[in-house]
Symmetry: D2
Subunit: 136 residues, 4 copies
């Protein structure tokens, strides 16, 4: 891994929102990223299950890191839009999201995300669009 | 407002994830809900702006409460999927999301959401699908 | 309306796919467009209702023309992605789609679309993203 | 393949909208379907490329047939919503869409679709939600 990417990952994990949700960046490699959250009381909503926003946060993050992991990527991927299907409610255990960068245009990048629970069941599936903002 | 709905709102706001993000349910009426978050350091990610997951959490919540607010709604709206466009980065101030229930089928409900910053600019727009789970 | 836009509209309506589906461009003005299709046997699929692709075609077109109608728009809006909810089956009559351009970035444009049947019922709702390709 | 499914496929291909666009159902098996369109002048829009509605029609159809192909599926899959990213413009050749049913709930089904051009490049990617209407 490039030192610049390693630094970014470290900064990402230490950023306040990652700390708030407990998001861990487990792996970033070519066009791929894996992130996780250990589910805790704090992620739970009214109905006793994990709030959809937790899965959306994890999905957006995994999709973005898969783009950072692209060898020829220079700049910052800004989320244009996210579409996510919630397939199964989650109550506890560990959520793992795998992002894959499936398209690189000159400015538009698209990633696919799978979120699984600790039994390996697919609990959410996402398709997200990013816009490249170049480093100044 | 019906007492049952008032109780639900109170339970919703006290739920752990609402507390974690600081989500407030400001208004729920016929097919409409308004929620807000006062942006704080904790919502910020790597790039110094509010994480997309914060806006997604707020959007999903506003869209769901707009369905709870439908006079003829009995049961629990489970999020099938969310699509959200992020239009402007947000760094501080108050985020307000307005959800509107635009379709009620026998089982499928659809809501539209607008998220605005403290200057009233549209910063995100969502379109979400819910499935009715009936109370037992 | 600018002569350049009028020419575009005329070319659009004469293009093969518009002719194939019978899409009419009824109105294009500032950030708004209205298109229609008179439903016919040819739009019908296996189940006896209009194929979702007909509504998707109309929605994408209305959303794009709403961008062409923006006074400060120069270039060509290329569809990045489309999200459309199908709310009611349609069997006959006229479908009318109204596109509204709700966001203009430097490169990214977002439009909202409502499709109604001849009774004025909302039958589909879309949220679409475009990328500006500049004229050479 | 079950005779009932074979009959459905034959009826599907003969339906007016499939004939209009030239959609062929090439393969339907367990949770999978492959459909194609031979691109022709009639699919072209103003900019000289295939209209997004053509790809959306093919994606929706492939996603739905992947559900019909599920061994335990009884009934009719009605499209709740479609999200599709357009990755590359297409001018000619054959479009092939592969639909995969990735989730089966009691009422909600989700399919993933990849559309490729004749060189095998991914030109569109979709994620679609269906609702099961039971046979009477």
């Amino acid at each position: 891994m490039q030192p610049a990417l390693e630094r970014m990952i470290s900064l990402g994990e230490k950023s306040p929102f990652y700390q708030l949700l407990g998001m861990k960046i487990e792996e970033v490699r070519e066009s791929y990223a894996r992130l996780s959250i250990e589910i805790d009381e704090k992620h739970i909503q009214l109905l006793g299950t994990v709030h959809g926003g937790v899965m959306a946060s994890l999905a957006d993050s995994a999709a973005a890191w898969a783009i950072y992991g692209s060898s020829d990527f220079k700049g910052v991927p800004v989320t244009v839009e996210m579409k996510i299907n919630f397939l199964k409610p989650v109550k506890s255990g560990r959520l793992v999201a795998e992002g894959r960068n499936i398209h690189r245009g000159s400015k538009i990048f698209v990633s696919d995300v799978e979120v699984k629970n600790c039994e390996g069941d697919l609990v959410a599936k996402g398709l997200l669009t990013y816009y490249l903002v170049e480093d100044k």
